[in-house]
């Protein structure tokens, strides 16, 4: 196959590309320039502080060097326009609406496995390889493959791919799904002579320099001061904008007085319309029913009453649940989960297999 390997400049995507080469594919590496002024705009002077692992000149250089070591052609493609519209602006708008988006999910859904994959297909490629830790298993009937958790549960990234419809997964190649561990991948990178073998993992939101998302949002979301209240409506503090708070957030509430029970308080809910941010003790965050938007199913929708696992955050634990409704998606969780926020993605599992996903609309 002709395979386009997305190469971020990190160790995972470099090894993924290497494994695609080893598998006998005709591989071309591509690094995505995702932010304006990134990856070599030719301007002089030291690079401003940018998050690592996305699109700094250094990352592009690391990716290029890895491609050279692998002996594959390499290009930098500018998808910044698309990334801005579909990931960055979406992120800002979601927070402005009082929701909690996951930009990595959006990026996979709308940039990597949408714009990039479509572009690759148009240019004559058959598949897109990435360094995600997740497994694709071929289907028995020759249809699209199914997505499964990675062999290494600690590194599993199937959550951020769970939004992909089957026809997109059919064009994906995930060579790291069977890796035993990140350590194994680093070891392999070192053996292959890839200089990124010891490069630190990236954790932050790639387009937020320094990782301070609240400060970043504060510059972009209109400030509308409001009140921090307890569940009885008593005013505890003022804030300068409900947008940017996240359900389950504890820090930065600036609530002067301690709670009557002396326990820390968390954001329970927020309303951008009224400006109210309601806080309370941790146990009041607990939710057992999740309602989502229109689900994306990997195959035929499971029957109502089906027992599944739900994952509500990128690194959250899987919680057993019962599928109480499919349109809209309704899940009854077997155990309470804290901090379920509208805007988050819920990924549904049957064993290791991803069966579908949806965006959380509300929880009770």
């Amino acid at each position: 196959m002709r395979v386009l390997a997305a190469m971020s400049g990190g160790v995972d995507s470099a090894v993924a590309a290497a494994r695609a080469v080893d598998a006998g594919h005709d591989v071309v590496g591509v690094h995505l320039a995702l932010s304006r002024g990134s990856a070599g705009d030719g301007s002089a002077g030291p690079a401003p502080a940018r998050a690592r692992g996305c699109c700094t000149v250094e990352d592009a250089g690391d990716a290029r060097r890895a491609a050279d070591v692998l002996g594959i052609p390499f290009y930098v493609w500018d998808l910044s326009e698309r990334f801005q519209a579909d990931v960055v602006d979406d992120f800002t708008a979601e927070y402005a609406a009082g929701r909690t988006p996951n930009p990595c999910v959006r990026c996979n859904e709308r940039v990597k496995f949408a714009a990039l994959l479509d572009r690759a297909l148009a240019l004559g490629f058959d598949a897109l390889a990435t360094g995600h830790y997740a497994r694709l298993e071929p289907s028995a009937d020759g249809g699209p493959p199914t997505l499964h958790r990675a062999r290494d549960a600690a590194k599993d990234q199937s959550y951020v791919l769970a939004v992909l419809p089957p026809e997109r997964l059919a064009r994906a190649l995930l060579p790291l799904g069977d890796a035993a561990s990140k350590a194994e991948v680093r070891e392999e990178a070192a053996q292959r002579g890839l200089a990124v073998a010891e490069k630190p993992d990236s954790h932050d939101i790639c387009f937020v320099p320094g990782g301070d998302a609240r400060a970043w949002l504060a510059e972009r979301v209109p400030r509308r001061p409001g009140l921090v209240r307890d569940e009885d409506g008593a005013v505890l503090a003022e804030h300068d904008g409900a947008a940017g708070f996240t359900v389950g957030q504890r820090r930065g509430l600036r609530v002067g007085r301690p709670a009557a029970d002396g326990k820390p308080r968390y954001v329970l809910s927020l309303s951008v319309a009224s400006g109210d941010v309601v806080v309370g003790p941790a146990e009041r965050l607990e939710r057992t029913r999740v309602v989502g938007g229109p689900p994306v199913w990997a195959g035929p929708p499971p029957a109502e009453g089906h027992r599944l696992g739900a994952q509500l955050r990128a690194h959250g634990a899987e919680v057993p649940c019962v599928l109480a409704g499919t349109d809209p998606l309704v899940l009854d969780l077997a155990e309470p989960v804290r901090g379920v926020a509208p805007g988050q993605t819920v990924a549904l599992y049957d064993g290791t297999r991803v069966v579908g996903s949806a965006t959380v609309e509300r929880a009770a």
Binding site: H31, A39, G42, A60, D78, E81, R82
Partner: protein, 427 residues
């Protein structure tokens, strides 16, 4: 992509078509031989012993040949590491020297289509040394508007430190009206520098005849190794050095003389001067063949520049292909063994709309589909024919790819035919 790919492609692939001579030209065998010969010399050209004298002899003979090839005297040649260094030395050095003589002269006039090697030092002077940077406009064909320069000098001639205008643009190949620039500037006592990096292979670059105060050349655009270049500085022209040290190059560019590189530069420039008339005519013929072929295969392609005879470098053609992205075109052609470039390469390989096309009034949307074809000494009619043959299918694929990349929220682009502009010079 390995030659033995499993998808059934032939293991034997045709030789590649290299149509990116404006980025870097293949090293001339005679230049390589000159470098190798000089590498056998031991000794620092500044040393007084026999070894030093032998090295110095090659260095100075090389300097004389560079001078002879470019209408200059040997003591007007400042050897550098390349065109970028020569440009930086000229812009910064002329500014500092002119301002030293007359503190009122703070204005730096450069054309809007200059290479970053000129633009960035000029911006540096504006940011750190009180310079007032003026970007001079070009017309829709990419040629400097001398009326704007005249008006600028009329108002601020006494406050102007220097003018820098390239000989030929690196993206479009369009020749600049240097004679007029020099005439206008001279009336106000303003020195003129020209980045002539793209010119020597086909143009009569002659320092004396040009009236320029300084001009930059680069070795690797004419078949010398990368890492060679020179600033030609008119005798008597004041210039402040950038690299200070042992005082080589008459104190204007310190650093142990790179004797072997100088030999390569001299040999390549001499060959360029020798072959220039025949080469210019040959390349003009190839370019006409290219444009006719492109016109036939991709009717809405547009030449950005000046197609009139003698108005641009004969081997360079900047095309815009509506509905395409330059990086997709580059990939598709590379995969078909054709090497070209988009508007302008940059260190990380990402693409931004060309500032040259923007200055010519080309809309961003059209500038995204820019493709620079630059033919040179090794180019053949077969190269041109192969490029022309694959271009239509490449454009079709690039348009599909562009459509896939548009933001989902964006309204569709106007049809390619409607996206043309006044800057279209009718391919």
């Amino acid at each position: 992509m390995s030659a033995s790919s499993p998808d059934g492609r032939p293991a034997e692939r045709p030789a590649r078509v290299y149509a990116d001579h404006a980025a870097s030209a293949p090293v001339l065998p005679e230049a390589a031989e000159a470098v190798l010969r000089a590498l056998s010399l031991t000794g620092n050209a500044s040393s007084a012993h026999a070894e030093g004298r032998a090295a110095r002899r090659v260095l100075e003979e090389s300097r004389e040949r560079v001078a002879a090839s470019l209408g200059a005297a040997a003591d007007e040649v400042v050897l550098t590491s390349g065109g970028t260094e020569a440009d930086a030395l000229a812009v910064t050095g002329l500014y500092r020297a002119r301002r030293e003589q007359d503190p009122a002269r703070r204005r730096v006039l450069v054309s809007a289509v200059e290479h970053p090697a000129v633009l960035e030092p000029a911006r540096g002077l504006a940011a750190a040394e009180g310079a007032e940077l003026v970007l001079l406009p070009v017309d829709e064909r990419g040629r400097l508007r001398t009326d704007a320069l005249a008006a600028e000098l009329e108002r601020h001639g006494g406050a102007t430190a220097l003018v820098s205008t390239m000989w030929a643009n690196n993206e479009t190949g369009v020749l600049q009206p240097l004679e007029e620039v020099v005439r206008l500037a001279a009336a106000h006592g303003v020195p003129v520098h020209s980045d002539a990096v793209q010119a020597p292979a086909t143009q009569d670059v002659d320092l004396a005849a040009s009236g320029l105060a300084a001009l930059s050349v680069s070795g690797h655009k004419v078949g010398a190794p990368v890492g060679t270049g020179a600033l030609l500085l008119r005798r008597g022209q004041a210039l402040a050095p950038l690299v200070r040290g042992g005082g080589q190059e008459r104190g204007l560019r310190s650093g142990t003389s790179a004797v072997a590189l100088a030999a390569g530069l001299a040999t390549a420039l001499a060959a360029a001067a020798r072959d220039r008339p025949a080469e210019a005519a040959r390349l003009a013929g190839l370019r006409a063949r290219l444009l006719a072929g492109v016109r036939a295969g991709v009717p809405d392609a547009a030449l950005r520049g000046d197609e009139r005879p003698g108005a641009s470098l004969p081997g360079t053609a900047m095309l815009t292909l509506p509905g395409c992205d330059g990086d997709a075109l580059l990939y598709l052609l590379d995969a078909r063994d054709v090497a070209v470039s988009t508007g302008s390469a940059c260190s990380a390989g990402a693409l931004r709309p060309s500032h040259v096309l923007a200055a010519m009034g080309v809309p961003d949307d059209d500038a995204r589909g820019a493709l620079r074809v630059s033919l040179g000494r090794t180019s053949t009619a077969e190269d041109v024919d192969r490029l022309v043959a694959v271009l239509p299918e490449v454009v079709v694929a690039a348009r599909r790819a562009r459509a896939a990349t548009l933001p989902t929220t964006r309204t569709p682009s106007p049809t390619p035919a409607a996206a043309g502009s006044a800057a279209t010079a009718g391919v």
